[in-house]
């Protein structure tokens, strides 16, 4: 199996990446790539594994970011406990919203997530006492171990490695999921819900589980983002980020692990390369998404399989 060689090579390359350049701006882009990879991987659980579309994912990212910011501001928590709490808070929101919304599936569910996402965005904008409104929260403490213990992560390289660790851990968890009973139930639910139910799979519970995991991980991403940038505004929940995450997952390749990571790379790279074009970039991203849906429904990673002619197992890690 070539996977035994390629994965260590990719990991080593990822570890060596920051040393390729001393330019801190490139380091910043690498952090963004990893951050978007984590978020896209989490959204991929919803789009790729349980087969639903969520327009509300950025809201959970924002909930994680605000949880970390507010905990840091009021309780001085800026370490691992803060990140875990951000995951729990985002996951709880995911549970409540998923519990209500997942009774319906397909386009109706997608519209509901759009509604809930907008509600969370609006509340964040107007609940000034808690969130400071459109000004956002600034001077968020940098990441520490437990917070207030003198250890503070300030360099971009440091954040790159921390988030890389999260991406690797979550990618591994997704890989393990696909070779587990739970993962098979996810895929069965996505492919044919009535048949899945006839085999004893509780379709609603599986969708809810996938949704909660995805939102909790988005919360972790949000907390890391808040500590890294030290500023968070309601804009992190805007449609721009929702669209960006969906583009990463679809263009990269939904239902795979490498797809969302490659999608995040393409997004970050194009965003920089086309900076001169200004708002026109969004048109290019829209075209990219449309082209991908029409010509490459399996995303960029399916291109690789098409070229190498490898037989195409539809889900990663099934064999």
């Amino acid at each position: 199996m070539s996977r035994k060689i390629t994965i260590p090579v990719i990991l080593l390359a990822a570890l060596a990446l920051p040393f390729m350049t001393a330019n801190t701006y490139f380091h910043h882009l690498m952090v963004l790539w990893m951050l978007f990879s984590l978020l896209a991987l989490s959204l991929n659980v919803i789009i790729g594994y349980i087969g639903e579309l969520s327009f509300g994912h950025a809201a959970f990212f924002g909930i994680g970011a605000y949880t970390a910011a507010i905990l840091g501001m009021h309780f001085g928590l800026a370490g691992i406990p803060g990140i875990l709490l951000a995951a729990i808070v985002a996951g709880l929101f995911g549970f409540v919203i998923g519990y209500v919304s997942l009774r319906i599936v397909g386009p109706q569910f997608a519209i509901l997530t759009l509604g809930f996402g907008s509600i969370i965005y609006t509340i964040t904008n107007y609940w000034v006492d808690l969130t400071r409104g459109p000004m956002g929260i600034s001077n968020i403490q940098p990441l520490g171990l437990w917070g207030g213990d003198g250890i503070a992560l300030t360099s971009a390289i440091g954040y790159y490695y921390v988030i890389l660790g999260c991406v690797v851990a979550f990618a591994y968890a997704c890989h393990a999921l696909m070779s587990s009973r739970t993962g098979r139930a996810f895929i069965a639910t996505r492919e044919n819900a009535p048949l899945a139910a006839s085999l004893g799979i509780d379709v609603f519970r599986m969708k809810l589980l996938g949704f909660v995991v995805a939102t909790a991980v988005a919360g972790v991403g949000g907390a890391l983002y808040a500590h890294y940038l030290t500023v968070v505004t309601p804009d992190v929940m805007s449609m721009q980020y929702v669209a960006a995450l969906i583009i990463m997952v679809i263009v990269g390749g939904r239902g795979t692990i490498s797809g969302p990571i490659i999608g995040a790379l393409i997004y970050v790279a194009l965003l920089e390369a086309l900076r001169a074009l200004g708002p026109l970039r969004l048109v290019i991203f829209a075209a990219l998404l449309t082209a991908s849906v029409i010509f490459l429904p399996g995303g960029i990673v399916s291109l690789w399989r098409r070229i190498t002619g490898a037989d195409t197992p539809h889900q990663e890690g099934a064999q």
Binding site: A176, R184, I187, A188, E191, N192, L195, L199, I201, P313
Partner: protein
């Protein structure tokens, strides 16, 4: 054959507004038995089937499986109790390979979850090996062993129908509900199906079969119940039932009677 009752349907009625599709039907399935439910098109067979399988709530009456009342119970709960159904229109996981289709069906009687897969512990390894072996066995049971890695959507129609049966038996049910398994099959495929259904019974699985292909029903069932206009009009051994005047009238003489 033991005389234990595995499924007991009593007074089952299903009305859609003014139309009563199933009227007070009583039926029992003994453990190890193949029971056929037949009737002309529009007789209410499929409605009857869907009410038992939990896809439709009954208007009145009850369904007891292994002594537990499971009237109107959700399909997935019923499946976990040990009752698996197939669908009249081919129902598969089209984008997955044949073997992955069957792997997914082992869900009911497996235990390790996501956490065990992350830890790659012993229980997970053993169970994954079992899943692979059982899935392959189920595919070989329906002669699809060589097609294990072909996507379900790329299989021929006959192969897809057999894959459905592999999926159903991989769930290891105690009672299997087959909804018109011979639909769209040619006589040769029908014969193959008959022998397959008998072999499933030999594995210790009781079967309730809804069908209107008389040849399949006659070839495989221990007992047959006939439904017409939602009512049970005859029940007994296949040969007795086909000679029952009521059944003859329903199947052959309908036009004559109404003329």
């Amino acid at each position: 054959m033991s005389k234990e009752t595995i499924l007991e349907v009593s007074g089952l009625t299903k009305a859609f507004g003014g139309l009563t599709a199933v009227k007070a039907v009583d039926l029992t399935v003994q453990r190890g038995e193949i029971l056929g439910v037949i009737g002309p098109n529009g007789a209410g067979k499929t409605t009857f089937f869907n009410v038992i399988a939990g896809s439709l709530p009954p208007t009145s009456g009850s369904v007891r499986f292994k002594g537990n009342d499971c009237t109107g119970m959700r399909a997935d709960r019923m499946a976990r109790l040990g009752m698996t159904r197939t669908f009249q229109i081919t129902s598969l996981f089209p984008a997955l390979s044949a073997i992955d289709n069957v792997r997914a069906a082992t869900y009911r009687h497996k235990k390790t979850g996501w956490a065990a897969a992350i830890l790659r512990n012993r229980a997970w390894q053993d169970e994954e090996a079992d899943v692979d072996a059982e899935a392959m066995r189920a595919l070989e049971f329906v002669d699809l062993g060589k097609r294990a890695h072909v996507n379900a959507e790329a299989l021929s129609y006959g192969e897809q129908r057999r894959l459905e049966i592999a999926i159903a038996i991989a769930a290891k049910p105690e009672l299997l509900l087959l909804d018109e398994p011979a639909a769209g099959m040619n006589p040769e495929e029908g014969q193959r199906l008959v022998s397959m259904i008998k072999r499933i019974r030999d594995e210790g699985i009781s079967i309730l079969l809804v069908e209107h292909h008389m040849r399949v029903v006659m070839g495989v069932c221990d007992r047959v119940a006939v439904i017409d206009h939602g009512e049970k009009i005859a029940e007994g051994k296949p040969l007795d039932v086909v000679n029952d005047p009521n059944v003859v009238r329903v199947y052959l003489g309908r036009e004559a009677v109404h003329a």
